[in-house]
């Protein structure tokens, strides 16, 4: 494992972001809009409900965490797409780089870009909508950690899909978080879901995070075992996603797809 080669992938991403407004803008713009939108919605809900229940940590906090998860996933895929868009696979994979180093570079790139997004979201949520992170206590650490791991897993899986099915399959990737969100109970307890959806949510690490978040706010007991389960599941998904990408990479080497990627398939 060469740190220099991993750093090369990160450096490439930093060069691209540094020199391009169209890359910098999306790292914070849409999540900032999300924060503002959900911030005002929660404010409004606080005024129309007489229960005195504070929606800010439940809804705005959940949206913040969910957006963080999406940024992590997209951080991995965007760094990968840069090679897709610039038709750079042949140049990159004809170097001594290992697939594990390449993935390591994508993950580190994602951490860098997601950190910016998280900082912007926190700034807006805390300063303008009085979201207090203290309400989550130390639980914020496992919340972020599980979502981070699952975001990495989904990002790696998405890279595998695009490598296998070609540049056009990029459009399968963007809606993936939206497909998961109804099952993950981001904005509502999993218990309101029909039974079959609850079964699916058991296998989704974010569902443990958002259930924990609600328990935390309502002053109920937060299950440590649930977090361990969520974390372990996320690690399993990272392993499965990496296995999938490595298999797709091997397939691409056997078929010659790496060298002729724009052809999308070689048969």
């Amino acid at each position: 494992m060469s740190l220099n080669r991993i750093f090369a992938i990160v450096l490439r991403q930093l060069y691209l972001i540094r020199g391009s407004f169209s890359r910098v803008f999306p790292t914070f713009a849409w999540i900032a809009v999300d924060m503002v939108l959900w911030g005002f919605l929660t404010k409004y809900l606080n005024t129309v409900t007489s229960s005195g229940f504070n929606f800010v940590p439940v809804l705005l906090g959940a949206v913040l965490l969910w957006d963080f998860f999406i940024r992590i996933m997209q951080g991995v895929t965007m760094a990968f797409f840069e090679d897709v868009w610039s038709r750079n696979f042949l140049n990159v994979f004809a170097t001594p780089i290992l697939i594990s180093e390449y993935v390591g570079g994508l993950v580190l790139s994602s951490i860098a870009t997601s950190a910016i997004g998280l900082a912007v979201m926190l700034f807006i949520a805390v300063v303008f909508f009085k979201l207090s992170l203290l309400i989550y206590g130390l639980m914020i650490i496992p919340f972020l950690f599980i979502l981070f791991l699952f975001g990495i897993a989904l990002g790696i899986f998405a890279c595998g899909i695009v490598l296998r099915f070609g540049p056009a399959s990029e459009w399968f990737i963007w809606p993936l978080p939206a497909l998961i969100s109804p099952f993950a109970g981001v904005l509502y307890p999993v218990s309101v879901l029909p039974k079959w959806m609850q079964v699916v949510s058991v296998f989704l690490p974010p569902s443990y995070v958002f259930e924990g978040l609600r328990a935390c706010i309502s002053g109920g007991a937060v299950s440590g075992i649930a977090f361990v389960k969520g974390g372990c599941l996320a690690i399993v998904y990272i392993c499965l996603a990496y296995w999938f990408l490595a298999r797709v990479y091997r397939h691409a080497l056997r078929t010659g797809l790496i060298a002729r990627y724009s052809a999308e398939t070689i048969s």
Binding site: S2, N4, R5, F7, A8, L11, R12, Y15, L16, G19, S20, E82, S86, R87, N88, F89, L90, N91, V92, F93, A94, T95, P96, I97, L98, L253, R254, T255, G256, I258, A259, I266, S267
Partner: protein
């Protein structure tokens, strides 16, 4: 002579199409070997295999004695390449591309090395220009600079002078000759320009339908087969190999 590349009995099939059939050859240090053949003969397939981006169905590749299949990363670190169909990312500057690829190839003292290459390939004025805005000739020079980054033992050049004007093509050829004269490594070169091949290559291999049909010195090979020029020989090998007793 030190053997840099050894290719033994390479084979590759796509469905029912045989892309490579029992291809074997070697490249020695200080030697420029031309890989010739009509479109679809298997030249790029061979180069992709040596670059480790395409797995052969059969055969073995050894680079500096290292088996590519089992020591990919180490073996590939002794190679580099440039190809007309693989330009460096156009959204990065010349210096950024060289910095990134230098790190990918594990080049030591990279900044000094990059400076040397920028000077050698006369890229000073383009250092901070994005590669996508450079002309074909300038991009070829950047590609060559990238290919020399790690002072490779084996340099693979897939039509490096295609789309270049004669003056730039001559300049590129002289840079590659310079590389070989310095004793840095061996070169495997594909080209459709037979005059260039005759001028530059020490030895040529004619590929057709995935097989090596002829091998020899480009200056003497045409006469050995009753042809006036290498181009005549190329056309005959491509269209009527049976007339040369080749099949």
């Amino acid at each position: 002579m030190e053997k840099i590349l050894s290719v033994k009995a390479l084979g590759k099939t796509y469905g029912t199409t045989i892309a490579l059939d029992n291809v074997s050859f070697e490249v020695n240090r200080n030697e420029i070997v031309g890989l010739l053949g009509p479109n679809g003969a298997g030249k790029t397939t061979t180069i992709n295999m040596i670059l480790g981006v395409l797995e052969p169905d059969a055969g073995a590749i050894r680079i500096k004695g290292l088996d590519l299949a089992s020591h990919r990363s180490e073996a590939i670190s002794h190679t580099n390449f440039t190809a007309v169909y693989a330009p460096l990312p156009g959204n990065l500057t010349v210096a950024q591309n060289l910095n990134i690829f230098g790190r990918l190839y594990g080049v030591r003292k990279l900044p000094e090395h990059i400076e040397g290459l920028i000077k050698q390939f006369d890229l000073g004025q383009f250092r901070d220009k994005k590669c996508g805005v450079l002309s074909s000739g300038e991009q070829t020079r950047v590609g060559l600079a990238k290919a020399m980054l790690n002072s490779p033992d084996l340099l693979l050049l897939d039509e490096p002078t295609a789309s270049l004007d004669p003056a730039t093509a001559r300049e590129v050829r002289s840079k590659i000759r310079e590389f070989v004269l310095q004793g840095s490594g061996g070169v495997l070169w594909t080209s459709h320009n037979m005059y260039e091949v005759e001028d530059v290559c020490d030895r040529v291999l004619f590929l057709s339908h995935g097989r090596v049909l002829l091998e020899g010195n480009p200056k003497t090979l045409p006469a050995e087969h009753g042809k006036k020029t290498l181009e005549d020989l190329f056309i005959t090998v491509a269209r009527e190999p049976l007339t040369l007793g080749l099949s």
